[in-house]
Symmetry: C2
Subunit: 294 residues, 2 copies
């Protein structure tokens, strides 16, 4: 059975493992802190690849940043990683083939193949964390668009410039539904800039009226966004993932979304492919040459 | 060369013409007023088909309402046409094959094949009129989603229930950017419920400050929506069509959208496939079995 060396590259951590074509993790998962500079990041890649490339058929990167439709390089800039990182020449890192895909797209692919969306031909995965990412599957293929950036969850919640998004634009879905977005809403609603997402979740557990109001507002933003996505993409399901997803009431989102959309009903699931879904998706895409729509 | 009898069905008019597989209209275009009842509509279809079916290979309907992925029937309800119309059994209307597709999807297909988007693999067409419709082409295929309703331009401009949309939900793109949506904005901004879209366009021509402010607000809504669509779909271009499109400043929309999106730049075009793009698209889809993505 074919195997991939999967490497997941985020702003904070780099993970690697050997994964087979069914998505099974065959090795220990190794973890490194993401270093500050391009050269240090490249040195870690080189070290990992030197150690394992002989045991695998392909190197599969799941990385922050949007990736081109040829799966060879990052296009545009990425947030919280060395600013030269997008210039990485992945192909020259190994004598084996190298495949690169965006981490949210990899996770969406893992969910579509072995996770919550495995019975769906069309699915939309949304990751809620420090940012908000998206990966969209259309007709069993990964949807990339013309430049590889399709599925970017930067559509507007308001048309009138209220809150700046990390992407540089105004009022994106991310700016209201990410962890920092929820904290910002809390600061606006309480006048206290120090309320954390933990305070909000704790407050909800302890029946604090104000925290429940903030938590409900956060759900309203999520529901508003998902309604639009359901009408635009008409998928069988949505998969919610990321560190903030555990606090989302999926039953409530599903009920409210289905009461407003004009497309056929959607299912709302939590992700089930696990913490390493990025690596698993990268390996599955790389080993089975998953089709691309774009 | 193969030919289709194309029939365009709207709430006000029914058109028909014979069109070949290159999209050329070979006959006069006939026009009927859309009657009130299901039986009267069916009688017009029967009359048209009886007259022309012997001359063509297929009957191609471009219709209001979303159409299933098998292109045989309407799914869900439609706005301003006899409420039983979605029950029409199109197949039994002719001894020749019958193909049915949504009118906005047909127009988007015509633009993608012979119109403004003919050099694009991925395009988003938006029709601005009494309502706002959409048709999306992904990787040279019509994007339909699981139930045929993908590309519905019902995503929210605000998350907090300000203006009801004709679809029954709140604050959809349609509710702010359609002709009636523009008039509603004018009523809100002037306190006068009788301002028409004509008054606004005339006012802009005559440098009326208030009308210019309303016109600019309308553009802000359009630009906000297109930014989100560009980030989600990453298309090469947008095609703006419909009776209201002639009043949209495409250069301004293109410039502002490209200054905010995180995907690669998009082009904004006006539609070029003409008034009969629905019939042309239906004929091209029916005769060339255009692929479906969903």
């Amino acid at each position: 059975m074919k195997k991939a060396l999967a490497i997941d590259v985020g702003g904070t951590k780099i993970y690697n493992a050997i994964i087979d074509e069914t998505g099974k993790i065959l090795s220990d998962v190794e973890k490194h802190s993401t270093p500050k500079t391009f050269d240090q990041i490249k040195a870690i890649f080189t070290e990992i690849i030197k150690k394992y490339e002989k045991d695998v058929d392909i190197i599969a990167f799941s990385t922050c940043g949007e990736v081109n439709n040829e799966n060879t390089k990052i296009v545009g800039s990425t947030g919280n990683i060395a600013k030269e990182y997008p210039n990485m020449n992945f192909k020259e890192l190994s004598t084996k083939p190298v495949y690169v895909e965006n981490d949210a797209n990899c996770a969406a692919w893992a969910e579509a193949k072995i996770g919550a969306a495995k019975d769906s031909k069309n699915s939309v995965m949304i990751t809620f964390g420090t940012g908000v990412g998206g990966g969209i599957i259309i007709n069993n293929k990964l949807f990339k668009g013309k430049s590889g950036a399709a599925g970017s969850m930067h559509f507007k919640m308001y048309p009138d410039k209220r809150r700046k998004c990390t992407c540089g634009a105004w009022d994106c879905f991310e700016a209201y539904t990410s962890g920092p977005g929820l904290a910002k809403t809390a600061a606006e609603m309480t006048g206290n800039p120090d309320v954390t997402t933990y305070d909000i979740i704790d407050g909800v557990k302890n029946s604090d009226d104000k925290m429940i109001e903030i938590y409900n507002r956060w759900h309203d933003y999520i529901i508003s966004g998902v309604i639009g996505l359901a009408n635009l993409f008409d998928p069988e399901c949505f998969v919610l993932s990321g560190s903030m997803a555990e606090f989302i009431q999926t039953d409530r989102v599903e009920k409210e979304v289905n009461s407003e959309i004009i497309t056929a009903p959607v299912k709302i699931f939590k992700a089930t492919a696990g913490n390493y879904s990025g690596m698993i998706g990268a390996a599955l895409l790389a080993l089975n040459s998953g089709g691309i729509n774009g």
